[in-house]
Amino acid sequence: MRPVSYKWIDNDGERATTRLYVKAAVGAGDFTNLQANLMACSNAALLYRAETKENAEATPGTPDTGNYSVIREALALEFRSVVTGLLYTYHVPAPDDAIIGVDDETVIATDTDLDGIPDVIQAAITAMTTNMTDPHGGALKFSRAFRSKTRFYKGS
């Protein structure tokens, strides 16, 4: 089962979404058939399909407890796009005790190599900037980290 969202647009520029669950075996030719039938049925244009592939962790481990160990607490990580210069902030929920000081509630700032990235998050930031992009595919550079609150903590 793969969730697929089809995004439509009409002649007024208004948009709508048709969300389906396609079978695991559906391939490119099947999508072509499905989309051709959808397009023939509507006056609206079918802009794109957004297809989601999921991986559920078989053994995700057990969450720890600590000072900020609930979803609404967050470590905000700010990155700057090296292409557009725009800032993107990601909120990692339930930050680890070792990252945010209890007394001053800021990210522990020791930076041995003076590269602007605190030691306590150095490895994680390196992994993130290596593998993440901005929404347009541009590379990201770490900007700053600070304590925050998550805006989205409803999930399924």
Binding site: Y21, L34, G61, S69, I71
Partner: protein, 159 residues
């Protein structure tokens, strides 16, 4: 293909609440169990008291150019809908909507009623229903059987 793919990570805390974190990865990254996603997952796990329980990659595939493909005519507003109803093998009902239905879906004598299967040519919503039966399934994985199609307007204020 878009310039980047959306990666959704689910993070579970010790109270059983689930947080969602959305980031972007390169367009070539399509496998949620692949090395790039696992590196990001491991980074989040290192930063958080919670644990990442699920990762989902959403890829956008362009289909049509809006300016070239939008048609006009009766029922051309996005709030005009064909609602297709299916029943799955567990007895649950599932409804999918097609916006701005083409006039060829409607009865030749009454443009507020969907045409029957015996109409020539066959109204195109039947082909959509057949496609959904063939290529889609319920979220549970159960097969879908077409039940009925109805036309409706989501808001009553559209002329």
């Amino acid at each position: 293909m878009g310039a980047a793919n959306r990666l959704l990570l689910f993070v579970l805390d010790h109270k059983g609440q689930i947080g969602r974190l959305v980031v972007y990865v390169a367009a070539a990254v399509l496998d949620p169990s692949g090395a790039a996603v696992q590196a990001i997952k491991n980074a989040i796990n290192a930063l958080s008291e919670g644990v990442v329980t699920k990762e989902g990659i959403t890829q956008q595939v362009a289909i049509e150019s809006a300016l070239a493909a939008v048609a006009t005519g009766g029922h051309d507003d996005i709030d005009d809908r064909i609602r297709l109803t299916f029943r799955d093998g567990d007895g649950q009902y599932h409804r999918y909507e097609i916006p701005s239905p083409a006039m060829s879906n409607f009865d030749t004598t009454d443009t507020t009623v969907l045409g029957p299967a015996t109409q020539v040519p066959t109204p195109p919503y039947f082909a959509v229903a057949n496609s959904i039966e063939t290529y889609c399934e319920a979220p549970s994985g159960a097969a879908l059987s077409f039940v009925e199609a109805t036309y409706y307007r989501r808001r009553g204020d559209i002329a």
